[in-house]
Symmetry: C2
Subunit: 339 residues, 2 copies
């Protein structure tokens, strides 16, 4: 990999495409000298959007793709059928080494399926997990896996733990990250069959700092840096966390509008409350990386706006610069030479 980092950006994916996507990605150029952007998407809207900005034309390319994969389409079928979509075009560039990373706010299912089917796994990696960062009262934790592999096996969880630890240490700068497995109690005998099988394997694993079980109630308090679980549970955790937070905050806001008294009180606390809530905005860290593929695939929220897209592109630069895939490859290739 050259020191130059080439990031493909899916200009057509997400609720705010192409406007916020193009804006955010271009904003990332400023602080990142070795970054090159490649936008994929429909020619007309993409060119119209790019015209709005001044930027270094030597560092921005376009690759047109006139098909669009919709959010509701069955992912695998969409990937196979729409060869000329922004997602398939971008991922194919990744596969052929024409780019280092791919960022999309489009269909999660299509991005995950395309990552596996088109880009392909690194040698030794059994299943590539999706690993979003979730905000906690202490900072941020990596939730791995969160949507890619339902009905995972214990050996997959061990791989998630290792890849998550590499990511948190080298991309997020957490020294010796604490790795824990989601469980329904702290006692040794607790857990379902999967957790009970994974537990001793994680304990034996010398490449990570494994701290044991984490109960769901301790996740928001940042009790671990890498939170390992299978995808169904991870997806429930991510969505419930988001749903509970937004429901409670909307209730608090509603409360502030009930009377003149609360409106005045609300006006007084608003700036401080906004600052607090900003700490819980994980979009400043970028999107969710899909780890263990031959190139980096980053999935941002479907509702992502320019700042999240910008941070996702910067995340790709850090990922490439830290040679995360080389680190994952080194660790996994030595384990499973046959795969």
């Amino acid at each position: 990999m050259s020191t130059n980092v080439r990031v493909v950006v899916d200009a057509m994916g997400g609720d705010n495409a192409p406007g916020e996507i193009v804006k955010g990605a271009l904003e990332a150029l400023d602080g990142q000298k070795n970054l090159t952007l490649i936008f994929t998407g429909q020619q007309k809207p993409l060119e119209a959007e790019l015209k709005k900005y001044k930027y270094d034309k030597n560092r921005v390319r376009t690759v047109f793709a006139e098909e669009v994969i919709e959010m509701a389409e069955p992912p695998v079928a969409a990937i196979r059928k729409k060869k000329n979509s922004s997602i398939v075009t971008g991922l194919t560039m990744l596969k052929h080494g024409e780019a280092d990373a791919f960022v999309s706010a489009g269909s999660t299912g299509a991005v995950l399926a395309g990552g596996q089917l088109i880009v392909g796994r690194l040698k030794g990696v059994e299943r590539p997990p999706l690993a979003p960062l979730i905000p906690t009262s202490k900072g941020v934790s990596l939730l791995i896996d969160c949507g890619a592999n339902v009905d995972a096996r214990a050996s997959h969880l061990v791989q998630f733990a290792k890849m998550g630890a590499i990511y948190m240490q080298h991309v997020m700068g957490v020294k010796n990250p604490r790795v824990a497995i989601v469980n329904i109690g702290a006692e040794e005998e607790k857990g379902n069959a999967l957790v009970k099988e994974a537990m001793p394997l994680l304990k034996e694993c010398k490449d990570i700092h494994f701290t044991g079980s984490i109960e769901a109630r301790d996740i928001p308090y940042g009790a671990a840096d890498v939170i390992v679980c299978e995808a169904f549970v991870g997806n429930v955790i991510l969505k419930l966390f988001e749903g509970t937070s937004s429901m409670l905050l909307s209730q608090v806001k509603k409360t502030l509008m009930t009377s003149l008294r609360t409106k005045i009180g609300g006006a007084l606390i608003k700036p401080a409350l906004k600052a607090t809530l900003k700490d819980f905005d994980s979009s400043k860290y970028g999107g969710a990386p899909m780890l263990g593929l031959k190139g980096l695939v980053v999935k941002t929220h479907g509702s992502a706006k320019a700042p999240e897209v910008k941070h996702s592109v910067i995340q790709c630069v850090n990922f490439s610069r830290q040679k995360i895939n080389e680190k994952i490859s080194q660790q996994f290739a030595k384990e499973s030479p046959e795969s």
Copy 2:
């Protein structure tokens, strides 16, 4: 079952035993004419506690049990060894028909294990689930199963759905309760193997109003009345919901203390905020019933105080009065005559 309802109360279980337990249970007597209380626990502390109150002595009995099951003890071993504990004594009375219901704030594992091993299942019930009520922005939903049966099968989930619907309709007064299964997407093809297997069975089931999948982000908004899932996922949902709520509220409180301005604002909004948060206090509905046993077992929070204990006892009266177990029996016995 006589119109008189006999509730055994574990006076030794929980962080606030026996003080808050005895207080709360006695408070339930006032509005419930046909209620009889039976306290189980160590003689000395129990008698000392009861002495503090005036109550109708004809409606309160004590059955002494000098052993105490600690929170950290392995549940099954504790149930087998400590025959003279308040939990085993209470559950044994239930088994022999000497009581109609049992309320405990003690070890969840011991109560669940004891429920299965001592009280026993109703005919046709494969696994008795633990079903706490969780507060939502619309009221309250039943989360079933939430800790009793890890690695459940699809047929268990269908039974949970039926028992949950009966409970919500007859104890909580929800007409034609909406039953949904926790899933990681609304689309037909989503889900893990268990959910995919359970989905058609739930759709075919004529005894419930099944509305399909519920994503975790919609749970706090009350998108279903009965939320069906296997115990590992249910436990994660319950604990993450509690953890996220408490973490966010503590952050809001902290924010209100940052400056004079926010302190004044906080003082202005405090009464309204308290009223809002009270809506999210599920303890006013009682504890979590363990459904499908030959008698009613209700598990309250380990941290339960008098109001939750009081409401749990009232919950037992409603449960018995509505003949929930007869309703469950009727439905399940016809299905599995052989079991």
